[in-house]
């Protein structure tokens, strides 16, 4: 179980991104965080693996307070938390294989990584991860040669290499079209169900949230304004949705059936 307790983050310029946010994530959940841009979703996710240091509060995972860990002890925590990014964040000039292998860096010693060397086992596992996201043919291409959807699948394979217990996904489909959005979230869903990996994912569109979430947290201006189960959110009307999002909320015409129609 991952517990957020009174978590706050104030940036140097005075922006209060998170205001005493508290909630729990059960193991094996597909938790979706919804909220407008600037509502604190990214900050919350980045505090979880300490890419950003929270100002106050605690993040307790397996009895360890991640928020209080000194930088030297972050490594064992970080390597069990995979992360997928909106802009994929692949190292574009490296091969797909090396990008996937970089997920093992947390387990590799400095000397081997100076020469980009990984163990046979790691290489085999990297190939298996690529197989799971259907990209074995692209393994030795440069990452920049891949399409957006393919790059995000490499991102997932990289996270998978960490043998993670949690995957943080920061708007993983916001740079992709609706068809690809379902593909990518489908992969995350399978990891969640088959590998029992907890997924914490921020999303924009209600349709996607309704389709994939087992639980939902709504953020607005750094505060939790909505908590609900997957069932709750599936019953939610547009009017309630707008209450969380404000007036700028929108629906994408997604859902597998309409997607197929749209793609033709």
């Amino acid at each position: 179980m991952l517990e957020f307790k009174e978590l706050s983050k104030t940036y140097d310029d005075g922006t209060e991104a998170l205001k005493r946010v508290s909630f729990d994530v059960q193991d094996g959940e597909f938790l979706v965080i919804i909220g407008l841009s600037g509502s604190g979703k990214s900050t919350l996710l980045r505090c979880t693996n300490r890419l950003i240091d929270p100002t106050s509060g605690r993040i307790v995972w397996n009895g360890v307070d991640i928020a209080a860990l000194p930088p030297k002890e972050l490594r064992p925590v970080r390597r069990r938390i995979g992360m997928v990014f909106q802009h994929f964040n692949l190292v574009k000039r490296l091969s797909v294989m090396n990008n996937v292998l970089s997920g093992r860096l947390g387990y590799t010693d400095n000397w081997s990584s100076m020469t980009y060397r990984f163990s046979k086992e790691d290489r085999d596992n990297a190939m298996k991860s690529l197989e799971r996201v259907g990209l074995t043919a692209q393994a030795f291409k440069r990452a920049s040669e891949l399409s957006g959807g393919q790059q995000q699948r490499v991102g997932i394979a990289r996270a998978l290499m960490q043998e993670p217990e949690i995957i943080l996904a920061d708007e993983p489909v916001a740079s992709l079209d609706p068809v690809l959005a379902h593909t990518i979230l489908g992969y995350l869903e399978r990891l969640n169900r088959e590998d029992k990996i907890t997924v914490i994912c921020s999303l924009h569109y209600l349709d996607l949230v309704q389709r994939y979430a087992t639980r939902v947290i709504g953020l607005r201006d750094g505060e939790v304004v909505y908590r609900g189960t997957g069932e709750d959110i599936r019953r939610m009307t547009d009017a309630e949705f707008k209450e969380i999002y404000g007036e700028e909320a929108e629906r994408v015409s997604a859902g597998p059936a309409s997607v197929q129609g749209g793609a033709l």
Binding site: L51, N89, V91, N110, G155
Partner: protein, 504 residues
């Protein structure tokens, strides 16, 4: 922005329109300034004032041989009437149209007169034409003068190869002074024979007023030479000065007929021995037929050019190598995202940036002048100069590459639990490597091109050779150097562009 009222109030002219016009006649631009068109007024005033000042100095310069005051102006107008009249009319036009413009500005017409700036352009164009001494007529009239050096530079390959030569020749002795001349050698069957008639006479001289007094005309005949071949005529005086005499300004070259015979007339050349010298002066006239035998081999000019070209390429390479080594640490100091930490690091950043900009703005040619004084003539001076400039140029380019790094992948690598070194190896270096290589190759390209020029001031390399050939008026050898430079630069340009394209 919201309501038009304040803008109108702000734009209300300070003076009525006619007054603005009159004021602009007194001082160009004043009317516009008072109509709240400050920039426009300033521009008109600056243009008119600059033009008038430059015009005045040019007029003073053109008329400087005449008396002070009015005659100077008259003389200047006589010497360059077109220039003087056009600039004067432009000034007048700026003045008058400027006044009209001020009137219109003050009347709040939406469109002021743009014509005034046309006259500004015209006036400065004519001033520029005169000041930079453009002379199209001379350029066209004397174009033929440029042809001989140009043709030699464009096609220098005659000087690139040389052959073993064989000389077939004969000589005749000629006495300078009263006859009879020396005894002629006997004719030997099958060997060329040269004969001068008479074989004595007076050399050309200059009288006390330095006027030429031409020497005796002699008729030279030769036989049993190779038929239909060019034959050079040489003259050797009693003390061994060997030279080719000229007839009507050209070296004498005769061509033998089908029987291997020739005959021509020439004037005995100038005396080179001092007038005080005494005794019989036996001069030697000889005819030489030079034939090229064997295979061509590279001439000295070609061999030197190749050697210097190689030197040049390596100069560029060494300077680039040193430049890269020194500029990498410097580039980190000049990268804003690296140095943004504290006030101290930002101060270092600004100081580094400033020094880089200053060093970069001083041309490598000037650095070479300094380096020549420092380490002496030769390629090392060139390398020092190019290195200094490369450090500054590469330092700036590299630091911009560092500033342009995408933080996303670094974040992603950190998130996997990677250590600092691993993050640099996987997140930073792959992003830097292509701009680093690309900029370095580009710099090598520039350095080789620059090192051809740096030789001009003594920095070694092919430029050093080129400037020597040009000063010796040896346009063919210079042409070889120019060809090598052009071909090398073109190849390098292509290769570096190609490599950079592949990297991108």
């Amino acid at each position: 922005m919201s309501s038009p009222t304040p803008r109108t109030a702000e734009r209300t002219p300070l003076v009525p329109a006619p007054v603005a016009g009159v004021l602009s006649i007194v001082v160009p631009g004043l009317g516009q300034v008072l109509s709240r068109q400050v920039q426009r007024g300033a521009l008109i005033f600056a243009s008119a004032a600059t033009m008038a000042a430059i015009f005045a100095t040019r007029i003073a310069d053109l008329g400087r041989r005449a008396e002070e005051g009015w005659p100077t102006v008259v003389r200047a107008f006589e010497r360059r009437p077109f220039f003087a009249v056009v600039v004067l009319l432009s000034l007048l036009a700026i003045w008058l149209i400027g006044a009209w413009d001020a009137y219109r500005c003050a009347k709040e017409r939406r469109r002021p007169v743009t014509g005034v700036f046309l006259f500004v352009l015209l006036g400065f164009f004519v001033l520029g034409w005169q000041i930079s001494e453009i002379n199209v007529v001379k350029m066209i009239r004397e174009a033929p003068e440029a042809l001989p050096p140009l043709s030699r530079v464009l096609w220098p390959w005659e000087a690139a190869f040389e052959y073993e030569t064989e000389v077939l020749g004969a000589e005749a002795k000629i006495l300078a002074g009263e006859g009879p001349g020396p005894e002629r050698p006997p004719v030997v069957e099958g060997q060329p024979y040269l004969r001068s008639e008479p074989n004595f006479g007076r050399l050309s001289q200059q009288d006390e007023n330095n006027r030429p007094v031409l020497g005796t005309r002699i008729t030279v005949t030769g036989f049993d030479f190779a038929p239909n071949a060019a034959t050079e005529i040489w003259w050797t005086d009693p003390i061994g000065n060997e030279f080719r005499p000229r007839e009507a300004g050209e070296y004498i070259i005769v061509t033998t007929d089908d029987n291997g015979e020739f005959s021509f007339e020439m004037t005995m050349p100038y005396q080179l021995t001092p007038p005080s010298a005494e005794g019989p002066f036996l001069h030697t006239l000889d005819a030489r037929q030079i034939t090229e035998v064997g295979r061509p081999r590279p001439s000295e000019a070609l061999r030197l050019t190749v050697a210097r070209m190689i030197e040049t390429i390596f100069m560029g390479m060494m300077a680039t190598a040193f430049g890269i080594i020194f500029s990498i640490p410097v580039s980190f100091l000049a990268a804003r995202n690296i140095m943004a930490g504290s006030r101290l690091t930002m101060a270092i950043y600004f100081i580094t940036r400033t020094i880089l900009n200053i060093v970069r703005s001083i041309e490598p040619l000037i650095w070479a002048l300094i380096a020549v004084v420092w380490v002496g003539l030769g390629p090392f001076a060139g390398i020092v100069a190019l290195t200094v400039h490369s450090i500054a140029a590469l330092g700036k380019l590299y630091s911009e590459a560092i500033e342009g790094i995408d933080p996303g992948p670094i974040e992603a690598i950190q998130a996997t639990g990677a250590s600092r070194i691993q993050t640099i190896m996987f997140g930073v270096i792959p992003q830097m490597i292509s701009p680093f290589i690309s900029f370095s190759i580009y710099r090598w390209d520039i350095n080789v091109r620059m090192s051809t020029v740096i030789g001009l001031v003594g920095g070694g390399g092919i430029g050093f050779l080129l400037v020597q050939y040009i000063r010796l008026l040896d346009y063919r050898s210079a042409g070889i150097a120019v060809w090598f430079i052009a071909v090398t630069v073109a190849i390098l340009d292509y290769v570096s562009a190609e490599i950079r394209n592949r990297l991108m």
